[in-house]
Structure formats: structure tokens, C-alpha cells
Amino acid sequence: MTATLATTSAVVSPAPDSPLRRVARNFFKDRVALLSLVVIVGFFAVAIGAGILTLTNLPMPMQPNATNLERKLLPPNSTNWLGTDNLGRDVLSRMVAGSTISLTVGFVAMAVSLSIGIVIGAISGYLGGWVDNVLMRIVDALLCFPSFFLILTAIALLGPNIWIIIVVIGLVSWTGTARLVRAEFLTLRESEYVRAARAMGQSSPKIIFRHIMPNAFAPIFVTAVISIPDAILVESGLSFLSFGVPPPQATWGNIIADGKTYILDAWWLIVFPGFAIFAASLAFYLAGDALRRASETRPK
């Protein structure tokens, strides 16, 4: 920084108007966005708290896996706020423990699918030609398989381990991201500023990562947020079919799966974890949607 620069910017600080700030400003003006953000942060606090308690073996008010057959299938009461299941386990404790698993699944699976999707989509869109053709036919082929059954098959063969489930969910769900990133790159590749960057002698990797990627960031980020509940839902579905995370580890999906036998007698086994799945998914979807709206007004 030169001395002149330091003094002038101290006197008149220019209105910082970076695209990131603009999106954040629009996002925080949106009430739905704020509400969903609060819900997401709440779920996170619970999930991280439970994760820490489990990892450090600190005493918990109630062990999620502790059975007590004398207190089985109790409706919500002062000790077990959300009731107990058929083995007398506390539903609230199990849901709290399950939130760690569900959110981990959501985030890690999103990260896996996003990284594959971005790389494949960027290469495809930027290079074009036969590379694009080959990669997109692979995507088409993958899209032909019903992904849920692909996941079921993979887990049946590899065994139900939480990390295998996460990676498999990520591996089958990157196609949408890849297509989206490719479409963005196809448009941005032809933009004047990419041509200008090339005319300045910039290398292709630099053009991809520095000039195109930041401009494609908004839609990619939105898909990322929206793919989190997708992964959570898939994991819940797998758990419900008892292909998910193996018991006794609680997840939102397998609490419902365990409770479905008692659906007529013990509604709390279904309704509360069901509501947790619903609320978390809705919050992520709404946040993703709000983010899309906030990022839509691009500078001219």
C-alpha cells in the first residue's frame, strides 16, 4: 500500500460493494431466510453439542442407547419429554444423537458430490468438444439408474457403515451439480471478460478458477445448500428400509423405522423424528431458495 492510498481511503472510505457483501445484505433482509438460518443454526448447535458429548464421553442427562423396559412406550412426560420407544429409550436423546449423524451425512455427502460435480462440470464446460461429449454421456448414463436403488445395491454389497453410506450418496448425486456447473461455464467461457483475460495472457487454470468460478459461485452455492436435505432424506429413507446406519446408533430415519410397528399406539415415535426431518429439510430448502433470490440481481 502506498502512503497516498492509505490516506485517501482513510478520509473517504469507498462504499464496499463486493458481490459477496451484496448477496449477504439481500439475504439478511429476507425474513424467511433469517428464520430458516435460525433453524439451521439451532440444529447445528444441537448436533455439534451432542457430537462433543459423545466423543468426550461426558455425562449426558440420558443415554440415547440406554434401555429401560420398565419405562417402554411411554407418551411424552416430565422425565422423557418426547416419550420413550419400545425398549424404553428416550426419544429426545435419540433424536439429539441422531441429529449429529443426519447433519454429518448431509454435509459430507454434499461436499463429496459438490467436489466431483464442480471438477467434472468445469472441465466439460470449459474444454468442450469431445471431452465434453464423453463426460456428459457418462452423466446421462448415471442418470438412467434410479439413484436410490444404486445406493441400496452399493450398500448391500459393501455393508452398512456410515462413511460408506455418505460416500455412496455423494457418488451418485453429483450429476446435477456437474450439469449446472457445465452450463454456467459454457455461458461464462464466451463472456467478454474471459476473452479479455485470455488476451492478457492468462493460463487456462487461472481463467477457470479465478475468472469463471467466482462468477459461477452463486448458483453452485445454492445447489450445495439444497443438496444437503436431499442427502439427509436419502439417509432417512435408507434407515427406514434398515439399510442405513446400523443400530443401535440412532438416526432420524431409524427412529421412525423402529417406531413404525407401534404407529397406532405410540404416535410420538413417528411424529417427532418426522418433524425433525421435515423442519431441517424445509429450512435448508428455504435458505437455498432465499440465497438464490439474494444472488439473482447481478451487477450489470
Partner: protein, 280 residues
């Protein structure tokens, strides 16, 4: 004697499309010495921009292909350069200023970071990049450059954006500046300012310039020589003053008469009659 800065020998460029082959540039030969300024004048589709982009192989190949000819920049054949060599020429040897400043600047970065990129790439020995940016922005006539360089492109007016583009091109210290219709997207008063700026920079730095335009009106006093392109060919080539005074080719005459002149009494604006041209 020093070799010419730029030489085009019998350059032909074709575009292969699904609807057949288009000859965009046909057997064009040109040469420039350091400090020269050349205008390439022609209408849309005459091949002037294609010629300009071909100087650093910026055309996408395919569909474009070099059918014949050579491009020599400082005696080296551009068409035979490796990817690394050509990247050094782009920006460092030949820098461009494009038509649309608003879209030629990346919307998500500040002016400063975009100019800094070019300086770091082509002049790694520059220690104080910010100081350099401020100097160049000042040189192209941006007021309060230290503050303005922190702006994002959309915070600048069209004229300032184009000035920033010119600063970006010049900050790499190129041997040759190619301005591809640099004023077409700007309104008339800003056009005059930018042209005056280019004229001043040329005398100040002795910079070589290729100006691509369809407007004969703006080249006077800025370019010593002019090449008139029509349907991919150079139909007339000579020094600006004599061509403006006594154009030989009917297309040149037609182009010159299309420029409305202040004070001239005319019923209608002149256009080009191609049927008549084909016969001539």
C-alpha cells in the same frame, strides 16, 4: 535495421461451419514498425476484428483455421509459437482494448485486482504493484486513482471503465496496443475524450497502435496509415491523409461519404450500395 514490429504475409483465415466454409480474411499482408499507428477500417463482417484477434491466436480453432500465410511479431512466427510463448505475447507484447468495457471487466473483482493480475504476470520485477496501478490509472485520466481502483467495475461509468481497460492494457508495457472499436459502445463526448487520450498516450510513449474501427471520422490525427478492409480483403492501403483526401477504391469512397459531417447539407444519410460496388 531493426526487424518490423509486426508483419502479416498473405494471411488467410477460414471458418469451417456446418453450413460450409467462410473465408473471413483473404491474403492480407501488412507491416508495421515500432511507433507506427495503423487503422484498419471496414464494416461489420469485413474481417478486421478477425485479423486483430489472429495476431495472438485468440480465435477459437476450430472453427477458425489459418489457411495460409504467416504472422511475424518481432521477427517470430506467432503461428508456430508454443502455448507458453504465445501467452507471453498476449498482454506483454500485444495488448488489447475491446469494444465493450462494461463486459470486458470481470464483475466480481475490483479494478485494482484486475490490473494487478496483468502486472504480476508480465512484469514480475515490479515491487510496488499498487503504486504502479495508481500511476497508470492516473495516466489514462482517472481522477483520484487511489480511491477509484478499489471500485468494482459497475461502480464506474462507461468512459471510466474504458479508461481502466486501457490502463490495464498499458500497465503490462506492451509493444503494440490493439484497440478493437474502443469507442463504439461509448457516447460521443466520451468517444472524443478516449480518442484524445489515445492520441496523447501515443505521443507520450511512442506506442505502436492498431485501431480497428468502422468509422473513418475518428482516425484522423490518430493513425498515420490506414488499411481499408472489405469482404476479407485489403482493398486500399496508404497513409491516412492522402486516403481521406483522395480515396481510390469505390468502397473507401463510399465509407468516407457515410460519415456524417457537421455543417454538410444532406437530405439523407449516405449508405453503401452493394450492387453498384460489385460492378465497380
Amino acid at each position: 535495421m531493426k526487424p518490423n514490429l509486426l508483419e502479416l504475409h498473405d494471411l488467410s483465415i477460414r471458418f469451417r461451419t456446418e453450413n460450409g466454409t467462410v473465408d473471413a480474411v483473404k491474403h492480407v499482408s501488412l507491416s508495421m514498425r515500432e511507433g507506427d499507428s495503423l487503422a484498419i477500417v471496414g464494416e461489420s463482417g469485413s474481417g478486421k476484428s478477425v485479423t486483430a484477434l489472429s495476431l495472438t491466436r485468440l480465435l477459437p480453432t476450430p472453427p477458425a483455421e489459418f489457411a495460409s500465410g504467416r504472422i511475424l511479431f518481432e521477427g517470430k512466427d506467432v503461428l508456430k509459437m508454443s502455448a507458453k510463448e504465445i501467452r507471453a505475447v498476449r498482454g506483454g507484447g500485444i495488448a488489447y482494448v475491446f469494444q465493450e468495457p462494461a463486459t470486458s471487466l470481470n464483475p466480481v473483482f475490483t479494478i485494482r485486482s484486475q490490473i494487478a493480475e496483468g502486472i504480476r504476470l508480465h512484469r514480475p520485477d515490479v515491487k510496488n504493484v499498487d503504486e504502479e496501478i495508481v500511476t497508470w490509472l492516473g495516466t489514462v485520466g482517472i481522477i483520484d486513482p487511489a480511491k477509484r481502483m478499489l471500485d468494482y467495475p459497475h461502480q464506474l461509468s462507461g468512459g471510466m471503465q474504458q479508461r481502466a481497460m486501457i490502463a490495464m492494457a498499458l500497465s503490462c508495457r506492451p509493444k503494440l496496443l490493439v484497440a478493437d472499436e474502443p469507442t463504439t459502445a461509448l457516447d460521443v463526448t466520451i468517444q472524443a475524450q478516449i480518442l484524445a487520450e489515445l492520441r496523447r498516450l501515443r505521443t507520450e510513449f511512442g506506442m505502436s497502435l492498431i485501431l480497428i474501427t468502422h468509422n473513418f471520422g475518428i482516425i484522423r490525427g490518430l493513425c498515420d496509415r490506414v488499411a481499408v478492409m472489405f469482404r476479407g480483403e485489403i482493398v486500399e492501403y496508404g497513409d491516412t491523409a492522402s486516403i481521406l483526401k483522395d480515396p481510390q477504391h469505390p468502397y473507401t469512397k463510399a465509407l468516407i461519404s457515410c460519415v456524417p459531417r457537421l455543417g454538410a447539407k444532406r437530405e439523407r444519410l449516405q449508405t453503401i450500395d452493394y450492387g453498384w460496388l460489385a460492378k465497380a
